[in-house]
Amino acid sequence: MSVKTNIPPATKTFDPARRSFLGSAVAAGIALAPGVFLYGIGTAKQVQARSLDEAASSSVRWGMLIDVNRCDSGCDECVTACNTENGLQGHGRPETDAQWIRKIELRDPASGRQNSLPVMCMHCEDAPCVDVCPTGASFKRPDGIVLVDKHTCIGCRYCISACPYKARSFVHEALHDQKTHAPRGKGTVESCTMCVHRIDDDRQPACVEACNSKGGGAMLFGDLNDPDSEISKRVATYATQQIRADLGLNPGVRYRGL
């Protein structure tokens, strides 16, 4: 893994020479230190579906890559899919209605270039919401998904203030007929769960699925820790950005073409 993190950003673009260098490094490693096998680098880490009674593992880090060039400003299939999947209904008060994913429009005043992109919980490695939570309700699962344990959430909303991405909502009214897989209730904070109930079932988040079937195919979901996953390959090949990377939170959601 150290190989991966030590790559300076400038060399992240695809470089066949580097690939072959890595290949020979593996061989050299085995030759130089008998008994130490660098299988982790050389061989594909099999991402197998967990069984139902197996805990989420920290060998995985779930993430998303959003290709902004493929995201249409008129399209909000991801938002609709999220609302449907998680039973989010508006009360006609956009200021306070729950919103787990939203579309934003960016315009560079200098060039006039416009972008449209979805923003949701960035599933930060060093999540400020987790830091400030007084009850431990905001937490990060071993596989990198940042969640609210609503059983321990007291609704203080510190996390809402702490989140630089405005990703969290507060449930202001009593709810009825929630989805069985997405319990929600008055007085607690909530945000994108990356559709953790789907991930645990070996499926894709609802927004990603909808983007690929009905939208522009801009969203890719996968394991950032697995060098052979499609998302890791793309992140290793193309220039991608994290929003507010300067904060050093290492979000699990990345963008291309911002």
């Binding site: 805990a55 699962r141 989805k179 069985t180 319990p183």
Partner: protein, 133 residues
Amino acid sequence: MSVSRYAFAASAVVLAGLAGLTAATGDVPYPDIPKGQGEACVADTEFMRRNHMSLLMHQRDETMRKGIRSKQHSLKECIDCHAVPGSDSIAITIEDPKHFCRLCHDYAAVKIDCFDCHASRPERKVVAEARTK
């Protein structure tokens, strides 16, 4: 009045700490709890009456914190098996005093908030026929 009902009433009385009331007199109204679907519960019925809350709390943390989604003690599964059809064969919600989780709690003066968030009936709302295993 079946023998098992006597046994239930007695344990509920103990659980709720309603000392002084004896179901054996037959004067005490006690809930007529709808039977779950299928042959048996996920554990011995007697054990479930006393310990279902511990199983649920444990499962809650396992699922929430670790992503363990074994079915046996999942609240979703309790709700599925213990769905009670209303007059229109649509499963009733916790609003209805005859809901499996409510009948007994009302009787024993237990208050839970689980259904502020959790759906109190299965996603498939029609529960006319018995759940097949």
